[in-house]
Each structure stands twice: as C-alpha cells, then as structure tokens.
C-alpha cells in the first residue's frame, strides 16, 4: 500500500525576495515591510496561480519566533487578510524552530488526509532583521534547550553548535579535507543564488568566492571553527505553496500538469534535552531520509533534485551524507568533486539554499518545497536543472534545532 491513503498534490509555489544584507535594496536603518506584508505577498503570489482561490479550505502558517522578532503572536489572524474569501476559514500556526516551515507542509497534508480539507494554503514566514544579529542569536537560541543549554552556550548559540560539529569533523576526517568541502558548498550556494533573482546573494559579484569561503575563523568575535560565510543569512521573507487532493485541484482550477504529487513524507522528532549522539553526523536527518525513501519506495539514485537544510556549510555536507548520497565522512569529497552542483550527479539547493537564497527560518521548509516543486514542473527559470525522466523525483530535508526536528518529503514530476 502506498504511504498516503489518497493522492496529494503541491502547486502554485511562491517565494518573496529574501531581504537582508547582500540585497541592494536592504538598508538596516531604513524601515522595512512587516510580517503581515510578507504573509500577504506570499499568499497572494500563490493564489494568483490558481483560478479559484475561494476553493482553499484552510490555511497553515509556519513561523518560528515572531513573538520575539516582531512582538507578534496569533499569526493565524493574518490569514483572512490575504484574501476576502478566507474570512472565518480555519488557520493554524505551527512552530518547530527552523523546521516550522517543514511542519507547516506536513500539517497541511495531514488535514487533507483527514478529509477535513481539499485544498490548504501553506505560508511560511520570518522577519529577522528587526534586531542586531547579537540579539537575534538570543531569539534563535530558543531552538535549543533554554534552561539546559543557553547559559553555557555561546553568544551566537547556533553557529557555535555547528562550529562544534565542524570541529569534530575536522578532527575525525581531516581539517583541510572538510574545510575545502565547506568552502565549495559556499561557492555553489552563491553561484546558484546568482541565478535566482529572489535570493539574498543574487547581487553577489565577488570574483573570489573560494578564497572568501576560506577566511580563517575569528573566535574572539565569532566561532572557533567556522566563519560568517559558513552561515546562512539573517533574512526577512516568506514562501507559500498550495496542497490539494485531486478534488481540491479540480476545485482550484489547477491542471495536473501544473502540480507535483507528494509521494511520501517523514516527520521525525528527537529529544531536545539530550545532546546529539554523534557530532559528526545528522542522526535524526538520517532517520527521516531512510523513512521517506522507504515510504516512497525509492532511493537516492531516483532523485533528480535535492534541497537540504544548509543552515551552515557543515550542515550541508552532513545532510548530503544523511540523505544517502555520500558515505559517512565523505560528504566533503562529494561536494568538492562538484557532484552537488547544478550539473552534478545530484543538483542540490539549486536556488541557493539557506546560504545563498537566505534563511527566513519559519519560511525555509516551505521555500524548499516551492523550489523542488518548481524544478519538477520545469518552472525554475535560470535555476532549472535537468530532470531525468528515469529519475522523476525531488526531495527536501528540512531541519529544526541541532538535528532535532526533521521533515523530509519526496515529490514526483507530473506524468
């Protein structure tokens, strides 16, 4: 039996610009659009692609920590603002740190599977430029265990968590080897972002990306094993995507050729109060990948496109291993050899990923789905990669916290 009891489709994806340092229009001291603007922009961007937006039954909003960045809660309340026909329709906000977007995708699918809705609009959103990075780091640290970890933690809590992972990998697999893989990850991210007009690094013209990526870390002001280029961006942005059953697609007026089928997903939760079992691997991501492959009845070799949660370059390397593309400790070589580039064996993070496109945390899981779906539909613009008819699948893996909350999802190109 197929994993899903009925067919679920994803369509009408939309990403806003990821706004923050790097974008020419970004100025830290000038006023910027608020969270409601982003929710509306992304929502309207999605529903503009369907004939009958009134056919949407529910909304799901993925967001991590608007209560702190924007002092705003009750985000479901912005759903009716997107379109007049949404008034009095259900909307729920879900949170799972940087995987809030991933959880939003899953929530929408579950609602459809439960026969409660035929079509659900998912919007992921985050605003992060409202405070300086040093305070933003406090807010984002909520993805870890506050009472158990924060006090001993670093100023930049999450960068340090992954800096420790990088350090452990340096020790185990060789510093130069891993460092070079991390640098190549950065280069790929920027090169892909330069093809994506919505990406935060779209305007990046640095001719020497690799040298930049190799900048030695400065532990006095940042982390011990990683530099700022190893990190995803501080971003404001939102993404939206519509999930629908067959009936839902019909009601929306979307043809099947414009929708990808969701073949399987996995949602895996690890205990926040226990340290990672092994710093040199993303164990939870690995479980989530295995589960989703099993449920879809396919393996890594069947994928034409992949989008992983590269909140840090080292996370990118480890995610490639967790997704089954490289053996333990070999992610760095795999990346260094160009196998994740857009013309490589498995084009990965083809629109820039969290480092190139940006990482509006609550939006990221949705953004990943939007981009994988666009690739499978042949609508990825300059970022489009070849979708091999023999490998008609695309996968995303979205992570919250330090490998704590993970969603994986596999989509299939329409016949």
């Amino acid at each position: 039996m197929a994993f899903l009891r009925k067919k679920i489709y994803a369509c009408a994806g939309f990403n806003t610009v990821s706004l923050g340092t790097g974008r020419k229009e970004f100025h830290p001291k000038k006023p910027r659009p608020g969270i409601e603007h982003y929710i509306k922009e992304a929502g309207l961007g999605a529903i503009a692609q369907v004939k009958n937006p009134e056919a949407l039954d529910e909304g799901v909003i993925g967001n991590f920590v608007a209560e702190r960045f924007c002092k705003q809660g009750n985000l479901g309340g912005f759903f009716p603002m997107v379109h007049p026909t949404f008034q009095y329709k259900p909307c729920i906000r879900v949170e799972g740190a940087c995987d809030s977007g991933g959880l939003a995708l899953v929530t929408a699918i579950k609602t459809i599977l439960a026969d409660i809705a035929d079509a659900v609009l998912v919007i992921g959103v985050e605003i992060q430029n409202s405070v300086k990075a040093v305070y933003g780091a406090d807010y984002l640290a909520a993805a870890g265990w506050f009472s158990g970890e924060r006090k001993q933690g670093h100023v930049y809590f999450f960068p340090d968590q992954f800096s420790q992972r990088a350090g452990a990998c340096f020790k185990k697999f060789g510093k130069e080897r891993v460092r070079q893989g991390m640098a190549q990850w950065y280069v790929n991210a920027i090169e892909n972002a330069r093809k994506n007009p919505k990406a935060q690094e779209y305007h990046n013209r640095n001719p020497e990306l690799y040298a930049t990526a190799m900048t030695p870390p400065n532990p006095k002001v940042f982390c011990e094993h990683i530099n700022v280029f190893d990190c995803s961006k501080v971003s404001d942005g939102a993404s939206a995507l519509i999930f629908a059953s067959e009936k839902g697609l019909e009601k929306l007026g979307v043809e099947k050729k414009d929708a990808t089928e969701v073949v399987a997903f996995a949602q895996v939760q690890d205990n926040l109060t226990t340290p990672p079992p092994d710093l040199t691997k993303l164990s939870t991501c690995e479980v989530a990948a295995k589960k989703v492959y099993e449920r879809a009845g396919i393996g890594p070799k069947d994928l034409s496109v992949l989008d992983v949660h590269d909140c840090f370059t080292i996370a990118g390397l480890l995610a490639i291993e967790a997704a089954g593309f490289a053996g333990y400790g070999e992610g760095a070589d795999f990346v260094k050899d160009g196998k994740t580039k857009s013309d490589g064996i498995i084009p990965t993070n083809t629109t820039g990923g969290l480092i190139g496109y940006g990482h509006p945390t609550g939006a990221t899981g949705v953004r990943q789905a939007v981009d994988v779906v666009a690739q499978l539909l042949g609508k990825a613009g300059d970022c489009q990669v070849k979708i091999d008819p023999n490998r008609p699948f695309g996968m995303l893996s979205s992570m919250g916290g330090n490998d704590k909350t993970v969603v994986t999802m596999i989509f299939r190109k329409p016949e």
Partner: protein, 445 residues
C-alpha cells in the same frame, strides 16, 4: 603604583569634547573590565568626567551610553565569559545591558573640578589653547594627589614646555588620540624631558590594554601627525592662489579637494579634512607651531579670514559636519564657501563636469579609497594607479603627482628634523591616524 590601581580613580578633563568623550568611552570600558574581575569586585572604581557645560555633559551621557552599548555588542563573546558566574544573566541582551549599566555606574559627571581630588590618572583633552591648558594643568596639579599622572591629548604643544609651565616634574606625557578615539587605532606618544619611568611604562601598558597602535614622536611642536597635516593642508591652501586664476576660487577649492581624495586615494579631500578637524582648530595649531618652531610660513591668510567671517567647520554635538570650506548635506560636500561673496556657492553636476573635464580622467580601473581599503590586492592596485597617473598627460595627473611629491617631502623632513625616529613611524601615523591606504614615504614618486 600599578595601572590597575590607578584605574580605580581616573579623570577626563574636557570630557564632553570630541576627543574627551572618545577617551572616556575607552577608559570606562577598561575600568569596567578591571572591576568585573573576581578579585576586584569589592573595590571602588570611579571615572570622573569633567566639562564646563552641564548641557554638554548631558550630551556626553547619551553618547557614552550609545558607545558603550555598541562596544558591548561587539565584545559579547568576552562579556559572556566575564558574567559566566551570574546565573541570572542568560541571554546576550541581559549580559550586554548589565555591562552597559555596570560601566555607567562607575561614572561621575561634573562641571566642578573638585571631583578630581582622588584621581591617579588624568586625561587632559580640552581645547587646543596653550594658555588654557597650562592654567588647567596647574589647577589639576593643585587638586590631585602628588603622584597623579597626566596624559595630555595636545596635538601640537611641546610636552616639555607644558611640564615646565605647570610644574608637573615629569608626571605628564603626550598621549595624542586620533579622531574619533573609539575608532582610530593610533595614539602618538610624546615623552617630555625628565619623564618619570613609571609614567613611561604606564603609558605603554595602557596602550596595549586599549589595543592602540602607539607611535613615538619626539617633543617638537606639531609632532608627527600635525607636523604633516598642517603642512599638507598649507600646500593645498597655497595652491589655491594659482588655481583660482583658471578656476575661480570655488573651483580651485573643488579641484584640490578632488585631487587629494580621488587622485591620491585618500578617505576624504583635504578641505573636507580641514573642515572635519575644524578651521578653528587648524588655525590654533598653526599658531602653536608657528610660535614654538619660530616659523612664519606656518600661517594662512585665508584661514584667518574665514575665522573672522565665522566659518569654522568642526562638528555639531550630534557628530554631523558643520559647514567650513565646504558646505555639507548629509555629510557630503554640496558647495564651496566663496570668500568674495561671503556665501556658499552650490555646485551642480554640470559645473563639476566642466571642471573635471579640465582635470582629465582618473586612471583606468580606478577604485576609490573605500573599495581599496579591504582589497587584498590594494598595494598592487595603488602602485598601478600611480604608475598610470605618471603616464597621463593631464592637469589632474600633474596636480596629483606634485601633491604626492610634496607630501613625501614633508614626511621626509619630519624624519630629517628629528620629529619622527623613522619613515616607518611617519607612515604609521598617516595610515593609522589618518586612514591613508599608503604612507607618504613611498616609491610611487
């Protein structure tokens, strides 16, 4: 007495001025860090900030809070360590705010000099006026304990002279910060005759703690920084005489400003720099140097005239630029003071283009100061810039190369006359204190 002990009670006189306020920020942070060491928690620390105006002290309070916050945000890694025992402080914001408050709690603000009476380290940063400085130093000597050490921020008055006039018996040193002290790495250190060994070593240790680049200068009026800047400025001023025949006065000012900024790759044009320092300060320093060096060439009639007309440059209390030779909007020059008409001539693009055309283009692949600053290949690019200039037969290239040669001559003379111990020291002052990309003693010309 150790530096740590002296840091228990410090005074800054002229604390609300642009130099004094910056020094206050640096010292306040250092004192807070010393106090927060576990062994010093019980000790009392006081930073006494003195200025003549209550209103200026209010401005200083706000400035200190903002600056200390900025520094705390940048030093958050260290601060988490410092407050690691404080279980109630968990988030960065708690820690940063606590440090700001702990630092501000050390500070006394007053218009009354009596609060210096326990100070063991005194920074003098009042206006560059010789008589006033001597008067204040005498007063401080009378009020402070007999072993108090004085660090004067004078940028031109010989320290030996101040020492003798105020009767400080070697307890004073020239400790010349650059504007703004919080940002500029350079401190020019000038030892007077008869300096005490203790002061010499305290000055060195303090520089290290504040992570400043200390460059020694000999005790000759103007030292290295103003020894160069004044003559560099005078050269540009003197060039106006010949240039104004071709360009009229506003055009001539524009030309020398542009030559120095774009053609010589400096952070700002020479007239913008004089405005930044203040036409009034520029005039004062010339006077001090003229007197002590007995050199009548250190004078400029135009500067005297502008001062009479009330054109003074310098900065408003909020840090924005006051009009001087140039008129500013949002920090950018938009016009030139026309001495004849006694008003600002506002230039437009057409006017600038006309003059720029006469100067000729910049070398190919020109990159401005800001772009070169962080360019790993900047040395190579600067050399290429000047090599190309040498092959350009334009008025702009000619003026720039003349200026470059003159600037080099001025710098070399500072070494010859014993103001600086070496050309490296002169280059260090210009690159660290004036933010030049290259030292004036170079092989470009």
């Amino acid at each position: 007495m150790t530096l740590d002990k002296r840091l228990q009670n410090v005074a800054v006189v002229g604390a609300a001025g642009k130099m004094g306020s910056g020094i206050a920020v640096l010292i306040a942070q250092e004192m807070a860090k010393v106090k927060l060491r576990p062994e010093n928690r019980e000790n009392i620390y006081r930073l006494n900030l003195i200025d003549i105006s209550e209103k200026a002290l209010d401005g200083l309070r706000a400035y200190l809070r903002a600056q200390i916050l900025k520094v705390a945000e940048k030093s958050a890694v260290l601060l988490r360590e410092i407050y690691s025992e404080r279980k109630d402080l968990i988030e960065n914001r708690d820690i940063i705010n606590t440090f700001v408050q702990d630092t501000l709690d050390l500070i006394n603000f007053s218009t009354d000099f009596d609060i210096v009476k326990n100070a063991r380290l005194v920074f003098e940063a009042i206006f560059e006026n010789e008589k006033l400085k001597i008067k204040i130093l005498k007063k401080l000597k009378r009020l402070c304990p007999a072993d108090t050490l004085f660090l004067t921020n004078t940028s031109s008055i010989p320290i030996t002279y101040l020492n003798e006039q105020a009767g400080l018996e070697g307890r004073i040193i020239g400790y010349h910060f650059y504007n703004p002290p919080v940002v500029q790495k350079l401190v020019e250190v000038i030892e007077p005759k008869g300096i005490t060994d203790e002061l010499r070593s305290i000055a060195q240790e303090l520089g290290k703690r504040l992570r400043k680049k200390l460059v020694p200068a000999n005790d000759i009026s103007g030292f290295i920084g103003n020894g160069h800047f004044m003559r560099d400025g005078l050269y540009a001023l003197n060039q106006l005489d010949s240039l104004k025949r071709q360009f009229r006065f506003p055009g001539a000012v524009y030309v020398m400003n542009r030559i120095s900024q774009d053609f010589l790759l400096r952070p700002m044009g020479i007239f913008q720099l004089i405005d930044y320092v203040g036409v009034d300060v520029f005039q004062c320093i010339l006077k001090v140097m003229r007197t002590h060096l007995n050199d009548t060439s250190l004078r400029n009639r135009l500067v005297d005239k502008l001062m009479k007309l009330g054109v003074r440059g310098g900065q408003y209390p909020d840090g924005s630029q006051r009009d001087g030779f140039l008129k500013y909007e949002k920090g950018r020059p938009v016009g030139v003071y026309d001495v004849r008409k006694k008003e600002y001539f506002i230039f437009d693009d057409k006017w600038k283009q006309r003059i720029d055309k006469k100067l000729g283009p910049l070398p190919e692949q020109f990159a401005p100061w800001k772009a070169l600053l962080r360019d790993p290949k900047k040395d190579e690019k600067i050399k290429m810039h000047f090599d190309l200039l040498k092959n350009m037969n334009t008025l702009g290239a000619e003026l720039a190369l003349d200026y470059l040669r003159e600037t080099k001559k001025i710098a070399e003379k500072l070494v010859e006359t014993g103001v600086a111990n070496s050309s490296d020291d002169v280059n260090a002052v210009l690159t660290n204190g004036f933010y030049w990309l290259y030292g004036p003693i170079n092989d470009y010309v």
